[in-house]
Symmetry: C2
């Protein structure tokens, strides 16, 4: 094996796991590589390299400029004497940095420039409290950004702020980045941040601050304790000031000590462009090979699962500029294999080159060690990650056959339905409940009346028939479908598959007259088991409650069963910067984008709340149970114009509406606990449903389906029919540590529509008994994109 397996399309590791894209950064490099040198680096296993935008000459020139300026100013002040000093301008600005010349850079358009990551000068200090230093720094960044952009750079890497967010300089830094992105109007800008500010990892390089204000430098060093989230906080400020630009990314420096899970998850949700790994992160294993700890491996493996796989940048690993010169005659040599590299290492031949190979080789080894893609990581499914879909309106719109087909492709869901129907049929017999077909003349008639309402292309009809067969239950079965095209399909299926056992009715279930029982065609009967699949990602969001209201008066009382029996909606506040950026970009074309509940396979997110007693990470918003109490059943019939006790002429919740759907309004107020600080962009919504709960006793587990992240594996593993729902916030809502997020949500309705309203309040605990309000979101409402009844 002469090259890494993952690059070989024939290898079995190809595309069965994430691919590592490995580059090299040399912090001492002062000039861009020559074509020859670049070729050498590529042939040693790296796929890209960084290049400084400007060189030592430029650095010297800027330092000299400012030194001269300070000197001249001092001289002049002395010449003026103390009397004139009174008149001297106290806020004299910094000198203007002259534009670049060809001596200041070794970068020029063309060649391989587009594939380089251009590195802006690390010696500037945008945060400096010295207005001269910060002004010069900003000018240097702008000069470099503009030139890199002119040359055609795709990527400009900018070293992150040295100070943490509590310092005054971060706003200055963030504004400078925004200005640089305005100047470099095409290139991506990548802020190179530590994952957290690990003690002892401060860069000791020469900077404008260390040259001109050396006495002020120690400040950075005397940190009290490690603040895990301060680097993330700085990043959050930067990207907020840059309005979540889609061209702004972050590169995180992997620390020596892998931090706790909450911080790992935090960065997981951010737009990671690079993971950078310095030479000192590697350790030598017993055989003397570079390797990474198990924690580091896990961290990398986790991030490699992102849809946009971050690139790996090895820092100060690989050939140094002076070494490249010595090997130029071998520039076409084959990249040595891991074995060869090891051999070279043992024999102590060309140690630097061998070392370099070993690091890349090790990363290739890690690449092959990754767990292969699971069934849930097929390209078809991962392509949906963080992809916003407007929710279906199945009640108002007719679905296409292909959409039904997708739904039917989920065996887990239909297996659970079949199980529920089966148990219901068994228990019906066990409890000796009379069926609807029983008459005074024939009290022992035992044909169960089953109705599948909203049959679609018939999957639930097939399952009901199977359940009846397996349990030996005599049934009469009705299937209702409002979609005239699906009805054609059902008619054919009835002939071909179901042996004409099914009575098909083309109708909206809410307008159905009820079953005309066999042998008693004059009379309208009742339904014993009503089966529906009307649930959306948030349970009730596709109007299952309203549809069932319209048909449940046909359910036999008191024994009739609805499958599903009940469903609950659940919420959790999340940080999901990408979705915020995505929705922001849609607002121009879709002014309601921030008030639309989106269906989305949430992936690059951070659940900011923690599991604590009484305040779990996922909390139930509300529940619907079917059938609804008999006491109220008459009320709901009023929807269809019948008299009802409590609603005659009632106004209900909205002007002009009769309040007939008011009983399906809901409200919840939930409290989520966040120990660490962060930002939320919206609420993730999920549902669970009890399809059938045993009526005979407590011993039996209910038959359930769930898309709750902490329940799905237990209740309906590998079920793929539903992605979560996402209720966005118009503005990211920042919260300090020890926060409680109070979520209010309403399911609102008039006679014609259903929509949601949501609001988040932030309260921080600042003492054992003191909780202060620190912020509130807008009240959001999806009324303008409401679900039509």
């Amino acid at each position: 094996m002469s090259s890494s397996g993952s690059l070989n399309p024939e290898s079995d590791s190809f595309e069965s796991r994430p691919v590592f894209y490995i580059g090299q950064h040399d912090s001492t490099r002062r000039e861009a590589l020559t074509d020859d040198q670049y070729g050498q680096v590529l042939s040693s296993g790296f796929r890209f390299v960084t290049a400084p935008i400007t060189n030592q000459h430029f650095f010297n020139r800027v330092v000299d400029l400012h030194r001269d300026y300070l000197k001249e100013r001092e001289q002049w002040a002395q010449q003026q004497g103390p009397a004139a000093g009174q008149q001297a301008n106290p806020s004299l600005p910094a000198p203007v940095v002259p534009t670049l010349t060809d001596k200041d850079t070794s970068l020029f358009p063309g060649g391989y420039l587009g594939s380089l990551a251009l590195y802006s000068s690390p010696w500037i200090d945008l945060c400096s409290p010295d207005p001269h230093i910060s002004s010069i720094s900003r000018q240097v960044l702008n000069l470099e950004a503009a030139y890199a952009n002119f040359c055609g750079a795709r990527t400009i890497v900018v070293p992150g702020p040295r100070q943490d967010d509590s310092s005054r300089g971060i706003a200055q830094y963030a504004r400078a980045i925004r200005e640089a992105m305005h100047v470099a109007n095409r290139a991506n800008v990548i802020i190179h941040m530590p994952m957290y500010r690990e003690p002892g990892l401060e860069e000791k390089a020469e900077t404008l601050s260390s040259i001109f204000n050396p006495e002020k430098e120690p400040e950075a060093g005397d940190k009290k304790e490690v603040d895990l989230f301060s680097a993330w906080d700085s990043w959050n400020t930067i990207r907020s000031v840059c309005s979540y630009s889609m061209r702004l990314f972050v590169a995180i420096r992997i620390p020596r000590r892998v931090p706790e899970k909450t911080l790992q998850e935090r960065w997981f949700a951010e737009p990671l462009h690079y993971l950078t790994i310095s030479q000192e992160i590697f350790q030598l294993n017993r055989a003397g090979h570079p390797s990474l700890s198990r924690h580091h491996q896990d961290l990398i493996n986790r991030y490699m699962r992102l849809r946009s796989i971050p690139w790996l940048m090895l820092c100060d690993v690989g050939p140094r500029p002076e070494e490249l010169a010595t090997v130029s005659d071998e520039s076409n040599a084959e990249f040595p294999s891991l074995a060869e590299a090891n051999q070279a290492l043992k024999e102590n031949r060309r140690p630097h080159m061998s070392a370099m190979n070993a690091h890349v080789g090790y990363m290739r080894y890690l690449e092959r060690q990754q767990p292969p893609f699971s069934a849930m990581e097929t390209p078809a499914l991962t392509s949906f990650q963080d992809w916003l879909q407007p929710p279906l309106q199945p009640l108002a719109d007719n679905l296409e056959s292909a959409t039904y087909e997708v739904f039917e492709g989920d065996p887990v869901k239909y297996d659970q339905y079949e199980k529920a129907i089966t148990e219901a049929m068994i228990e019906w017999r066990e409890l000796k409940k009379p069926t609807s077909t029983a008459t005074p003349e024939n009290p022992s008639s035992s044909e169960l009346v089953v109705t599948v309402a909203g049959a679609g292309r018939g999957p639930l009809v097939s399952r009901a028939l199977r359940a009846a067969e397996s349990t030996g239950t005599p049934i009469q079965i009705w299937a209702l479908e409002k979609n005239q095209d699906a009805y054609v399909y059902l008619l054919r299926k009835n002939k071909v598959e179901w042996g004409n056992k099914v009575t098909l009715v083309k109708t909206d279930m809410r307008g159905w007259e009820g079953p005309r029982l066999k042998g008693r065609e004059d009379a309208i009967g009742k339904v014993d088991i009503l089966v529906t699949e009307l649930l959306g990602s948030f349970g009730d969001n596709e109007l299952s409650p309203e549809c069932l209201d319209g048909i449940q008066n046909h359910l036999a009382r008191p024994h009739g069963i609805s499958i599903p029996h009940s469903y609950t909606a659940h919420l959790s506040p999340i940080s999901t910067p990408r979705l915020f950026a995505d929705i922001s970009s849609r607002v121009v074309g879709d002014p309601n984008a921030f008030e639309t509940p989106w269906v989305v396979r949430l992936f690059a997110l951070d659940y900011v709340s923690q599991k604590v007693p009484d305040h779990p990470r996922f909390q139930q918003a509300w529940e619907f149970v079917h059938p609804i109490d008999v006491l109220r059943a008459d009320d709901f019939a009023a929807v269809h114009g019948k008299a009802a006790k409590y609603v005659t002429g009632g106004l209900g919740s909205m002007a002009g509406a009769s309040g007939t759907n008011e009983h399906n309004a809901r409200h919840c107020h939930l409290t989520f606990v966040c120990p660490t600080r962060g930002v939320i962009h919206g609420l993730a919504g999920f549902f669970e449903s009890v399809l059938y709960a045993s009526q005979t006793g407590a011993g039996k587990e209910p038959v359930e389906i769930s898309i709750l992240p902490d329940q799905i594996d237990r209740k309906s593993r590998d079920m793929i029919s539903w992605f979560p729902i996402f209720f966005p916030l118009k503005k990211p809502l920042y919260f300090p540590q020890d926060t409680e997020l109070e979520v209010s949500m309403w399911r609102q309705t008039d006679d014609a529509k259903v929509w949601y309203e949501w609001l988040v309040e932030v309260y921080a605990w600042v003492g054992p008994n003191t909780r202060i309000k620190v912020g509130t979101s807008d009240l959001h409402s999806s009324r303008k994109v409401a679900c039509l009844m």
Copy 2:
């Protein structure tokens, strides 16, 4: 005097002080007044009354509905037995409240309805944690709001939430108000709040909560300590959820104990529709007449100074319904005078009517006791209160004569200029400084060269001539003006008023060649005293620094003087809900409205920060001093294409710009301290300028002008030329108590424009050494509405 003086246009109090508009509210009134009764109330001195929207019949009906519903439900649950109970729907909603009938209200369209303040039922509880109570409450409010709106009501008063903002119910309350405003789509909605939640003032009236959940009531009573800002906090949540609707107002209940100034100021900034005063707030003076304490009087007087004068509503003062019936035969009787009322009181005749008269009479007395309008409260000036004006662009646009005339109408400003020129001329002689007209041949020449740059219609020329005359200083005077139309005016003025003493040049000052001295027409001389009036509300915002850069190379060195010598910009964060609402309403037509620095006579505002050592309420952002140091003078000349040491080909701050104006960029980072919680809507900006500072010693006060609220009276009292500037925030920024607001502001520039950028960060102190970040504004930029150079 048979009627109150302030109603009489002939009286001397008419319009020389704010007018009181006094109404009456009776909390026990259950029906609207009849026309007769209404007439009686009006004739007793009130100008408006409140009327309940619904009556006792409706209240009884709603209570019965819910009682019956609960009873039936319980019975049904018992019938079902424990087995069925398992199936009972746990989240059964509340009954639907039927629409109103003519028995439920005594209000009908027409008549005097438009002048009534309609009061919604005080017995509802929108905040209730009992979902039935809150649902019924919401339905009742919607029924009433819809009906009042239908009848043509202009004003619907809604009792405020009973709980404070830390309770879970406030979001529910706020959402219900938003819904009611949607239902009542024309009427104004007024939330009736206490100024603060004064202990012992809780209403004890019967409510749905007290009827159905009596055990839960005590909660409201057992308050720990008075939280002064909790009522304001609730109001802030309500209006935020209602998106600062222009139809939403607040009525505040004057408390028994007048609270501290900070809370008074807080409410001063809010849209106060009514001040309500309950009977128990009045005290009897020695003569047995109702009166208010001095603190109460001051409070009322202060609020009466608002541009939209709040109406006064006396609660439970005046004839009760049963009393009105007894006096109906006297309904046309004249309203008795204060003297008559007193007489009646002494004789104990018709005690209730007399008491009523006494309260109104006392308020009329207070009306006359108000301090009269000051010179700064002329209608011409008060009409500018909180009125947003886009800033002038005097450099890019030419002003009209009327605009100049307004400027010239401010004697304070020009007196200060004259004083500055006078002092400069005296000192010139005292210090024996050589003038520009001195030549080797004639070294003792003593004609001072004075130039007024941007002369407009010449006010400063007149003042300079006067200063020369009064000090006996021989001068040569130039006046430059770029506006060709103003130039015509100047030519005429020179002939008519100035005796042709002035050399007029039609030029942009930045393009002037310099003075051709008399007797030496071949040579270009220098200017000794340069006088300009280029300052804007924020000092440099009308580009004074840029203009002076363009002319200061003509200033004689080292002795030349610029008047003004220097100017500083100052900031303070403010709460100003009305301006936020106003700007919000403009965004559709003007997408940059929130990134425009507005010139506005700030009035209904609250300075949220407090004066503490090192952190005053008004803080200096930056300073400009003229002339700028000789060392840099060459640089600025580069603007006009000349060679300069530091800028040759310089790129400066922005791509494509040469950086020639970079020296006029500024940045500041200021920290404001807020002990109490609140919300800010933007930054108020001001300026100060030293027109001339004595060069002879420290003993002399500089000649200054200032628009800083805490300095103007000392430095330039009654100066009206400048209103403050307002830098808005896109989103109101809430902050908890013990907060530091960190304000970053930048004056940014490229070669063609100048603009500002601003950002506010919120940090709260939560322990002696712990400061946490709780929020940040967007970075705002006025680049799109930048000042053109």
